[in-house]
Structure formats: structure tokens, C-alpha cells
């Protein structure tokens, strides 16, 4: 049967006379201090050198609070506190450790709204996401891993399990509290103590979390939080008292860490960048696939390492998919992260916005065709970027090869499955991928052929604490989540 060929390019008009009034999330209930110190040995302590930096609200460009700048002497104090607490923590019955972790999970749930608002204020992500995705997943991770604490011998049958010691954990700015939870939960239940370094631009939820750590009665020194920028992280990586480093962030920094740790006994896991292929076959359920494309790339302003940033559309449906995609982009609301109707919030920092803009220029220069939705964006000193689409992109383009980490999607077409698999795998990353087809056999054959740590079929950006997450190639090594997420924090003999 032949398909009707003639298709119009009529767009729909989403600049409607009826639209939504601002619906701002109430922020009266949140408790924020003007200044935050370092959290070491169960107490907030001033940084040794007494320096502070500002954390900004990316939606306004204005300062929210002063944050202590941790430096090498502070890291040293934190590692010593963690080492001291380790002997106590490891001596505790595993079921007792679980109780503390369950308590953290419950307390996060109790204060979920407060955490969600602070996360959106500090990171720029829409409150819809922090309220329904970030914070619930934080609690879910603590709950999930708490259950493993007294069952580790059954997790690795026939093996002796032993904790490692002091773990240094470096957290990115895209999912500030969630990435902290991903790292803290498995480390704690396996009996390790932690020095955590939040990202420079998004330290607030980790510091609020420190209040919960105090309230939960976690023994002092088991969790230490040292804020700062790259040098603070480097001091943590290079500290001889640290037994393991877990890092989530850019591939560039990840490589430096791996170099620094070469020849030491420190264990390492890296969760780095990605440039995921999201593949739409002609037999896919197209309207739902379009939704998956949107969720894949515009979730959290595209600040997602597993974002579906490379779209591959089969030739026969290219025109209609692009039409639908552009119309769907017109309905995305870019604006105040604290508005419940906002779909796309603020870009995390001025620096990141600059990076994204450079890629947009590069894309145009390389000859791809740029399309941006035309809705309004706030004009207020915040950092904003319209959802962007590049058609006519190619494997040789920079915007196709490099991770942009913003709301920017490249579109390529293909004719055969072999062709798309070759292009999808032709990247130095390998974190995630997506396949959309109505045919089960294609789901199995294609997902198996994609060299990526996480492959979604007919959905995208789904996370569950029971499911391992991690990369191939320059996307890193080691897994977080699930049973797999325990082993990086254990010696198995």
C-alpha cells in the first residue's frame, strides 16, 4: 500500500488567545541562610582560609547565598573526620546503618517541597521536574540502597565483602541532590564514609541535606560536605587519605582525574559525558515518539549527560516528524523555574550559556539549518536559551560530535538499520541511546547492537534506583544504581 505523498507544511498556531496565568510555587516555607559553612565532622565549620563565593539564581543572575570556599586544608580536615568516623561506622551492625539511611530517605520525603524549591532556585530547573523527578528519586535511592545494607553477602554469593574506607565524591550541577544521593546511598550502606564535593554553582541542596544528616543523628564524620570549585575537587582527588573517587561530570575533568590517580591504589568510577542517538523508525508510534524526542533533549534544559541529543529519523517519516516536532516545541514554556507551568527553566550558569551559544554559532557555520521556537523568554538578567533544532546535520559536524549540554538537538536521516546503527555508534561517547519502533524484533536487535550503557526502547530518560546506569568508551566506567552500584564501594574477595 502506498502512502499518501502530498503533505503540506502547515504549522499550527500555538500563540493562543487563551493561555496560562503565572502559577508560582510558594517559597515562603523554605529556610535558607545567607551564608553556608563547610560541613565537617557533623558540624558547620568556617573554611580555614575564610574565603566565600556566591551561588546565584540562574533565573535572575542574582545572589542567593555565600558559600564557603573549601581548600586543601579543609579537605584534609574532612578526610580526617571521615577516617575517624570510619572505624565506628564499619563496626556498626549493617542493619543499624540501614536504619540511618532509611531515616534520611523519610526525612527527604517529609521536606520534599522545600528541597524541590531550593533545587529549582539554585539550579534553574523547572519546579515540575524537581518536584516530580529529582527529589522523589533522591528518596527512592536511599530507600532502595538501605535495603541492601544487611544483605551484601547475598548480593555477591561466594564472595567476602568488605568496605573500602573513605570515598571522595564529586557531584555535577545538573542534578545536584539526585547525583549526591546516587553516590551517597551505596557508599553508606556498604560501610564507607564520605567526603562530598558539590558543584560550585549548585551547592545549596547538599548543604540543606547536611541539616538532615544532623537531624537524623548520623554519626559525625560519616558524611562531610566541602563546597568549592575545581581546585577543591582536585584537592580531594589528590588527598592520600582517600580510598576511592567517584566522579560525575565532564569527560575532560574525568580524564584529568584518571591521570592523577594512575599509579595509586585509589579506586575510581567515572560517569562522564554523552551524545546519545535517539532513533525513530518509520513504524514508530510517531506522536508518542515526538514526545520522547522532546523529553530526551529538553528535559532539564538539556543539561543531562544521557540526553538524546542526536536524533536519527528514517527518511520516509522525516518531514512529518520534523513538522510535529516544531509544533510541539512551540508549546514548550520557557520561563521562571518556580512557575508550575514552566517546561524549560534557566541555563545553569552564564558560562554554560556561553558554551551553548558557541555551539549554536558553530552549527550555523558548519551549514546545518537552525530552528528555534519563537515563544517569549524572560528579559531579566537570567540565563536563557530557546529550545533549538538543527536539521541537515552530519556526522562530521562539531554539533553532532561534541556534547553541548544544552537544549540543542541535531537531526540526521537514514534509510537502513545498518546505516543508522553505524552512525549511532560512531561517537567517542557511549552512555545512552533510544530506539522507537512498533516492532518487537527490531527493539531487540537494535538495542543489542547499540554500544551504550543504557538503551531505552519506546521511552526515554526513565530512571529507577534498581537499574544500573553508566557508560562505555569516553562516557566513563563503573555503574551506579542497582546491584551493580554496590560493587564500586566494596572489596570483593
Amino acid at each position: 500500500m502506498s502512502k499518501v505523498k502530498k503533505r503540506s507544511t502547515r504549522g499550527l498556531d500555538f500563540d493562543t488567545s487563551w493561555s496560562y496565568a503565572p502559577a508560582l510555587e510558594n517559597k515562603d516555607h523554605i529556610g535558607l541562610k545567607k551564608r553556608y559553612d563547610l560541613f565537617i565532622g557533623g558540624k558547620f565549620v568556617k573554611p580555614v582560609k575564610g574565603k566565600y563565593f556566591n551561588t546565584l539564581n540562574p533565573a535572575t543572575g542574582k545572589k542567593i547565598a555565600s558559600i564557603a570556599k573549601g581548600e586543601a586544608p579543609d579537605i584534609d580536615k574532612a578526610v580526617k573526620a571521615a577516617r575517624k568516623a570510619y572505624s565506628l561506622w564499619i563496626a556498626m551492625a549493617p542493619g543499624e546503618r540501614a536504619k540511618y539511611v532509611y531515616r534520611l530517605a523519610r526525612m527527604i520525603q517529609e521536606r520534599a517541597r522545600e528541597f524541590a524549591v531550593i533545587e529549582s532556585l539554585d539550579s534553574g530547573k523547572p519546579i515540575r521536574e524537581s518536584k516530580t523527578i529529582d527529589i522523589p528519586l533522591v528518596a527512592a535511592h536511599f530507600f532502595y540502597y538501605a535495603g541492601w545494607a544487611d544483605k551484601l553477602r547475598y548480593a555477591f554469593p561466594g564472595k567476602q565483602v568488605k568496605s573500602i574506607g573513605v570515598a571522595g565524591q564529586i557531584i555535577p550541577w545538573n542534578f545536584p541532590l539526585l547525583m549526591a544521593a546516587w553516590k551517597l546511598a551505596p557508599a553508606l550502606v556498604t560501610g564507607n564514609t564520605v567526603v562530598l564535593k558539590p558543584a560550585e554553582t549548585t551547592p545549596l541542596t547538599a548543604l540543606k541535606f547536611a541539616e538532615i544528616v544532623q537531624d537524623a543523628g548520623i554519626p559525625p564524620g560519616v558524611i562531610n560536605i566541602v563546597t568549592g570549585a575545581g581546585e577543591t575537587g582536585a584537592a580531594l582527588v589528590n588527598h592520600p587519605g582517600v580510598d576511592k573517587i567517584a566522579f560525575t561530570g565532564s569527560t575532560e575533568v574525568g580524564k584529568n582525574i584518571q591521570k592523577a590517580l594512575a599509579g595509586t591504589t585509589k579506586k575510581l568510577t567515572l560517569e562522564l559525558g554523552g551524545k546519545a542517538a535517539n532513533i525513530i523508525m518509520e513504524d514508530a508510534t510517531l506522536d508518542q515518539a515526538v514526545e520522547g524526542i522532546i523529553n530526551g533533549i529538553y528535559f532539564n534544559q538539556g543539561h543531562v549527560c544521557c540526553a538524546g541529543s542526536r536524533l536519527f529519523v528514517q527518511e520516509s517519516v522525516e518531514e512529518i516528524v520534523i513538522q510535529k516536532l516544531k509544533d510541539r516545541m512551540s508549546t514548550l514554556i520557557v520561563g521562571d523555574p518556580l512557575d508550575k507551568n514552566t517546561d524549560i527553566g534557566a541555563i545553569n550558569s552564564a558560562e554554560q550559556l556561553k558554551t551553548i551559544m558557541q555551539y549554536l554559532e558553530a552549527g550555523v557555520e558548519e551549514g546545518a539549518t537552525m530552528y528555534q521556537s519563537t515563544g517569549s523568554i524572560p528579559q531579566n538578567g537570567g540565563f536563557w536559551c530557546q529550545p533549538t533544532l538543527f536539521t541537515g546535520a552530519a556526522q562530521s559536524h562539531k554539533i553532532v560530535q561534541e556534547e553541548i549540554f544544552g537544549p540543542v538537538l541535531t537531526v540526521q536521516t537514514f534509510r537502513t538499520i545498518d546505516e543508522v546503527l553505524e552512525k549511532a555508534n560512531n561517537t567517542f561517547y557511549g552512555l545512552s541511546a533510544g530506539v522507537w519502533t512498533d516492532k518487537g524484533s527490531k527493539v531487540f536487535s537494535m538495542t543489542n547492537a547499540l554500544r551504550a550503557g543504557v538503551v531505552w526502547a519506546n521511552t526515554y530518560n526513565k530512571f529507577d534506583p534498581g537499574s544500573p546506569f553508566g557508560g562505555y568508551k569516553e562516557s566513563g566506567f563503573g555503574r551506579e544504581g542497582g546491584l551493580h552500584g554496590l560493587s564500586p564501594y566494596l572489596e570483593l574477595n
Binding site: S8, A21, A289, E291
Partner: protein, 315 residues
């Protein structure tokens, strides 16, 4: 000569069916549809957006009574409600139509004359559709002769579920012819179609056969209108628009009794089809109780106080 004889013997509706059959209906992923609906439901409609939305909803209502026990008296009172929604509230819009059985059409036509309110009549052996094509055509002609501006027909679900798409398609085409100038709304009775794939196929079929509106339900079968079904039907309308530039209307009916739920429908409409459909010429609510809840919410927005339902006329 032989060729022209052959062409003369083929039903024109059937040629149109053959064109329809050449375009495959896309399959639908139910999980994806439900996720999309959940996201659309999270839109927060407050303050002036709420008041404007409620006004728009009122203007899109087909005020309906479709019961065996309907009497001229009951229908007269329903018309009075349509004409006087709430006289004390300034500048309220009229409802779009009054929807009744064919025997009541004449009465309604007389009462709403000059108000701009349309007269809609169900037809084609509503609600089951279990009759012959001939009878259905006759009933449609009767309703139109009596003065119906719009005809709400039901499709033959039994035939559809048995895969006799050509029959269903040709029947809709025949009813469309019988409608003449009257608008044709085609009720798919999605509660009997079992899957969203079927909903999509029936939508495409009705649109191809000449429906001016596609409508979810008779209100006599559960589930009646739902947001996922409505989204799938709106997507069928959207694809038809992409292909042809023609705008087909949508009418969810049955079970939409709260203003809050109706606002969700409006959100789904807005973000699926946009401005071109945000009007009663292309979107209707089939409902009997919805109007009062909308009025109650409007009064709440105006006065800050929820009034008892006894302050709103029930007809």
C-alpha cells in the same frame, strides 16, 4: 461504455473508502499517551486564565438531554436554561447547542430561534446504532427536516470491530449526504472500541467519510470520554490537517461533569491543535451537568465564595 457503466454502479462513498484504505492509520502507544496526558494535566490554571477558560468552556457546551423519559416539558426547561444560564452574571456566553432526540427537535428549534444557539439531534438508531442503513438515513432526514442544525450519528461498532471498515465508511458517507447542510458529528463510542489503535482507526475512517466533528461517546456506555481517547482523536484531526489543510472538529462527551476536568480538556486541545480549534465551531463538550459546575466556579472566582448548588438552576 463498459467502463462508464462500471463507474456508475460504484457508490461514490466507496471510492472515498478506497482512498482512505490507502492511508494506514498509525499505531498508538497507550503508555506514551497516558504519560502525555499526565503531563498535560499538570498544567496549573489559575486566576484570569481560569475565568477565561471557564467562559470558553461554557460557550462550547452542547447542553444535552437524551433519555427515554424526555418530555416536551423537560426539553422546554432545558432550553430555558440554555437561554438564561445565569442572568445575574455579567456577559456570560451562550452555550453552543441544545442536543436532543429527533422528536424534540421542532420544539427546541422554536424556543432557541434567534439566540444563536444551535439545535443538535442524535440520529441513526442512537445509542446502539443497531438498525439498517435505510432506517438510519430516514431518521437523519427526519431530524434535518424538523430543523436540526447538527446531527450526532453513531457508527456501527459491531461492523467496525468485525473489520468491515468499508461498510462503516460508506454508512457515514450516506448519512453525511442525508444531512445536507447540517453539520455531521460522528460518535465513535470509544468505550466499545477497546483499544486506542481502534480509536485512531475509527477517527481516521470517520474523517475520511466526511465527518465535520468526531465525537467520543453517546454517554450511555462506560467509559465515556477520557483524556487519553480525546488526545488520540485530536492527533487524528491534526494529521488530517497536516495532510489536507482541513479542520475537523472534536467533541468529547459523557462523564465530563466538573469544571476542573473540562479545563484539562481545554489544555489538551490547546497544546495539541492550538488557536485554530479554540472555538465552538471546532470544539464542543457534550454534557448535562457541566454547565452548573462551571457557573459555580465562575461565581467562586467572582465572589470568593462557593455557593450551594441550590443557587443554580437544575434543568
Amino acid at each position: 461504455m463498459a467502463l462508464s457503466l462500471l463507474i456508475n454502479n460504484i457508490d461514490i462513498n466507496h471510492i472515498s473508502y478506497m482512498k482512505f484504505a490507502a492511508v494506514e492509520s498509525p499505531t498508538i502507544d497507550q503508555v506514551g499517551v497516558e504519560e502525555r496526558v499526565a503531563r498535560l494535566r499538570s498544567r496549573s490554571i489559575k486566576k484570569e486564565a481560569k475565568v477565561e477558560g471557564l467562559n470558553l468552556i461554557l460557550s462550547m457546551i452542547d447542553l444535552t438531554t437524551l433519555e427515554g423519559r424526555d418530555t416536551p416539558g423537560k426539553v422546554r426547561q432545558l432550553c430555558a436554561k440554555a437561554l438564561h444560564l445565569r442572568d445575574s452574571y455579567p456577559a456570560l456566553p451562550n452555550v453552543a447547542a441544545v442536543c436532543v432526540y429527533p422528536t424534540m427537535v421542532k420544539e427546541v428549534k422554536k424556543l432557541v430561534a434567534g439566540s444563536g444557539i444551535k439545535v443538535a439531534s442524535v440520529a441513526t438508531a442512537f445509542p446502539s446504532g443497531q438498525s439498517t442503513k435505510k432506517v438510519k438515513i430516514a431518521e437523519t432526514r427526519f431530524a434535518v427536516q424538523e430543523g436540526a442544525d447538527e446531527v450526532d450519528m453513531v457508527i456501527s461498532r459491531g461492523k467496525f470491530l468485525r473489520g468491515e471498515y468499508a461498510y462503516v465508511h460508506d454508512e457515514i458517507g450516506a448519512i453525511k449526504e442525508a444531512c445536507g447542510q447540517a453539520y455531521l458529528k460522528v460518535i465513535l463510542e470509544t468505550g466499545e472500541l477497546a483499544t486506542l489503535d481502534n480509536v485512531r482507526k475509527a477517527s481516521d475512517l470517520a474523517i475520511s467519510a466526511g465527518a465535520d466533528f468526531i465525537k467520543t461517546s453517546t454517554g450511555k456506555i462506560q467509559p465515556a470520554a477520557t483524556l487519553p481517547v480525546t488526545l488520540v482523536m485530536l492527533e487524528a484531526i491534526r494529521d488530517h490537517y497536516y495532510r489536507t489543510g482541513e479542520r475537523v472538529g472534536m467533541k468529547p462527551a459523557g462523564g465530563i461533569s466538573s469544571a476542573k476536568l473540562a479545563l484539562h480538556y481545554l489544555v489538551v486541545l490547546r497544546e495539541t491543535l492550538g488557536e485554530g480549534w479554540m472555538h465552538r465551531d471546532l470544539f464542543r463538550f457534550g454534557a448535562s451537568r457541566l454547565a452548573n459546575d462551571v457557573l459555580m466556579q465562575l461565581e467562586k472566582e467572582r465572589t470568593g465564595i462557593y455557593q450551594s448548588i441550590d443557587y443554580f438552576s437544575k434543568d
